[in-house]
């Protein structure tokens, strides 16, 4: 699978891009995530919120197979561990995972080559320019600030145009301008037909993004009614 197809209004009713059913994570004998269900369709933008240690990052890692979990997870109808499943999502952890011996431009190239999507390189470089890093593409990320590294990690994930984009605390360390820019980019991604699942502490992010909110409390997912829908809850994005 390469770039996303153009936004398809019917896609919302098609098969979910992400389907997680009964996902549970136990670490060191402690239940971190208990029996969580979540479905994301094309165009969905979902914000996982919750206090520190609630299990937001763990849930994201469980979805992509970075922590052992029970339950069922499918990305674009395939197990996320399979080759085609992995081709269907992009994941950016809370701490940018970068190669210190590659420049920013080389990161963009390698990322595109690994996902067999030649256009992703140009898109990533475009995003780096948008984030103000165009002139520093030939530098090592090791010399860059935390925010600049975060911008590179986000550009790599968003430049891939995968059906599902998973971002763990993407707004961390970003300046205000970049935060607004990222919000626009995430909305663009969903408009193109991609689904985005991200984590964040700030409830106001939901308003900024126009995202549906799923709260993580004590390892359980609790869909929150959208702003203005508190009286009459709408479609439960995160619920069973």
């Amino acid at each position: 699978m390469t770039a996303l197809a153009a936004f398809d209004p019917e896609a919302r009713d098609a098969a979910p891009i992400l389907r997680a059913a009964g996902v549970s994570v136990r670490l060191g004998g402690v239940s971190v995530i208990a029996d969580a269900d979540l479905e994301l369709h094309a165009g969905d933008l979902v914000l996982l919120t919750g206090p520190n240690g609630a299990g937001k990052s763990t849930f994201l890692r469980a979805l992509v197979g970075l922590v052992p979990a029970s339950g069922e997870v499918e990305v674009a109808g395939r197990p996320p561990a399979s080759l085609t499943g992995r081709a269907a999502f992009a994941y950016a952890p809370d701490e940018p995972a970068l190669y210190e011996d590659l420049t920013l431009a080389e990161h963009a190239y390698l990322n595109a080559a690994l996902y067999r999507d030649p256009e992703a390189e140009a898109r990533t470089l475009d995003l780096l320019r948008t984030f103000g890093l165009g002139g520093r593409a030939d530098e090592y990320p090791g010399t860059h600030s935390r925010g600049m590294r975060q911008k590179l990690a986000l550009s790599l994930a968003l430049g891939l145009w995968r059906p599902l984009t998973l971002l763990d605390e993407p707004f961390n360390a970003l300046d205000l301008e970049s935060q607004e820019l990222l919000a626009d980019l995430l909305r663009d991604t969903t408009r193109r037909g991609g689904a985005v699942l991200l984590t964040g502490h700030q409830r106001e992010l939901a308003g900024l993004l126009g995202a549906r909110v799923v709260a993580v409390r004590d390892g359980r997912l609790e869909p929150q009614p959208a702003e203005g829908e508190r009286a009459a809850p709408g479609r439960a994005v995160g619920g069973p």
Binding site: F89, D101, L102, T103, A113, L114, Y115, P118, E121, Y140
Partner: protein, 529 residues
């Protein structure tokens, strides 16, 4: 010192005592549980017994003393060592870790109090090393030069500590020690010069027929039995220590903090490498070498700290995945220092020579041997190396070389890269280097009288052996998670490529070894892990 700074000094001292005490307790508890203190005592006891008896057996007093030129050479060596501290120091001999740098160095505390612990550790290490050298000198001088020098140990220990302080003073350069004009750099240069000139006196005396009587004062403990001979080095170390402390009275040297940051990162990287070697974890192939280069460039403010000094042209994004990974592996090799390249080239050539000789011996016993004598006579030096042991040795050497040449580990397992693309991408530069090394080795081996040019069978045998060993190494290390530089994957690769020779020789079909070697290669290529 004002009251504020005084309180800071007390606080730093208290913090050190607290953390050291806790660390000491934890370490003692861990040693007690993991090893046992009685075991440690037992080991130390026998170590001392073995060392003392070994020294007694090894050092036999000579009937005639050695010529004075030996002592002069020793003094010249000591002088060179002391003078080596003189060139302008660009890197501090002691540094702080990141935590101390943030928590303590930025606090309103006199720098000497913050650096006291690190300086103390470094000075203790220098003193111990110097004392060991001095003690060895006492022993050897008494036995071979017939000179009693019982105070050499404290004398050399003091010199070693003074040298460390002189290095700090030379690094601290413009920092004031006494007034504006007496800077740390000047004091350090004078101290190092005095020590070096004094140490050179015996050598100069031998050459010129005499030296001023004051000159050997600092190193007199090496040739005299009087306890007063240790006084001059102790005065020197006191002066150096006091000057170093005064250079840290108020401000840090200008580049100390940024350099400490880099040195702390380099130290952390070194520790991680040691731990990864011990535990067999793969940290990043050659990637950490490039990162180390970058940090060293940052330390010395050289080009290469921000962006690479050399880059390979990137293949088009439409190229297959394995090409991108091969570019990644080749880039990692290309950005290593030239000295590393030379070492890798030597290893590839050595592996090629061993592999070609093993394959030549195998080919000499197989069907290829019957096609001509060009492979070398079975009784020649090549054939004498033949058999499973040769193949095992060659396989191990090839695996070791491939481990050093292998590209960084595959990207995160979340990335959709097929195992075969990963394997061939990571291996491609290593295989090219092995091929080049084998070509050089083939030319050298072929020119050796009695061996002659290598036949096609030997080259084909080496190709099968080398590629199979490389494939097994990469696949096994990726599958098991063991670092390719570790012994285990290398041994597995060597055993697998030696199996055909071992089994077929044992069952009486050595002529099929070459064919079986190709079969092993095919299986290794097909296994998709």
């Amino acid at each position: 010192m004002n009251a504020h700074a005084g309180a800071g000094v007390v606080a730093v001292g208290r913090l050190r005592r607290l953390t050291l005490l806790r660390a000491g307790r934890a370490y003692a508890r861990w040693v007690g549980r993991a090893v046992g203190w009685w075991t440690v005592a037992y080991l130390v006891f026998w170590l001392v017994v073995f060392v003392v008896s070994g020294v007694q057996l090894a050092v036999v007093p000579a009937a005639e003393p050695l010529p004075p030129s030996v002592a002069a050479a020793a003094s010249a060596g000591l002088s060179v060592w002391l003078a080596a501290a003189l060139p302008r120091r660009r890197v501090p001999p002691v540094h702080l870790d990141r935590r101390d740098l943030i928590r303590l160095a930025l606090a309103p505390v006199p720098p000497h109090a913050v650096l006291a612990y690190r300086r103390g550790l470094a000075r203790a290490g220098a003193a111990l090393g110097g004392a060991a050298v001095g003690a060895a000198w006492s022993l050897l001088a008494a036995s071979y030069l017939h000179v009693a020098a019982p105070w050499a140990a404290p004398g050399v220990a003091a010199l070693a500590v003074a040298r460390l302080d002189a290095r700090w003073l030379l690094y601290a350069g413009p920092m004031p020690v006494l007034g504006r004009r007496l800077t740390a750099g000047r004091v350090g240069a004078v101290l190092a010069l005095v020590a070096a000139a004094s140490a050179a006196a015996p050598a100069l005396a031998l050459l010129a027929g005499g030296a001023p009587p004051w000159a050997p004062a600092v190193t007199r403990s090496l040739v005299d039995a009087s306890p007063w001979t240790a006084a001059a080095p102790l005065v020197l170390v006191a002066c150096a220590g006091l000057a170093a402390r005064r250079s840290l009275a108020e401000r840090w040297p200008p580049r100390f903090a940024p350099q400490s940051f880099v040195l702390a990162q380099l130290g952390g990287m070194r520790s991680l490498q040691v731990l990864s070697r011990l535990s067999g974890l793969d940290l990043g192939g050659g990637a950490e070498g490039v990162e180390r280069q970058r940090l060293l460039a940052a330390l010395h403010d050289r080009p290469g700290s921000l962006r690479p000094v050399r880059s390979l042209r990137r293949p088009p994004p439409t190229a297959p995945t394995w090409v991108a990974l091969a570019w990644r592996a080749a880039s990692s090799l290309y950005r290593r220092p030239v000295v590393t390249w030379l070492g890798l080239a030597a290893r590839a050539t050595a592996a090629g020579a061993a592999g070609l000789l093993a394959a030549r011996a195998v080919a000499a016993t197989g069907p290829v041997a019957a096609t001509g004598a060009a492979t070398g006579a079975p009784g020649g030096p090549g054939a004498s190396l033949g058999g499973p042991v040769t193949a095992l040795f060659a396989g191990f050497l090839v695996a070791q070389t491939v481990a050093a040449l292998l590209g960084p580990p595959a990207p995160s397992r979340l990335v959709p890269v097929p195992p075969s693309a990963r394997t061939w991408g990571r291996l491609a530069p290593a295989l090219v280097a092995l091929g080049a090394g084998a070509t050089v080795a083939g030319a050298v081996v072929g020119a050796v009288p009695g061996i002659g040019p290598l036949a096609a069978g030997a080259v084909a045998g080496y190709c099968a052996l080398a590629v199979a060993a490389a494939l097994v190494l990469e696949k096994y290390s990726s599958w098991s998670g063991a670092a390719p530089t570790r012994m285990e994957p290398q041994a597995v690769a060597a055993i697998v490529v030696a199996l055909p020779a071992l089994l077929l020789e044992a069952f009486g079909y050595p002529e099929w070894t070459l064919t079986a070697q190709w079969l092993v290669l095919a299986v290794a290529a097909l296994v998709d892990v």
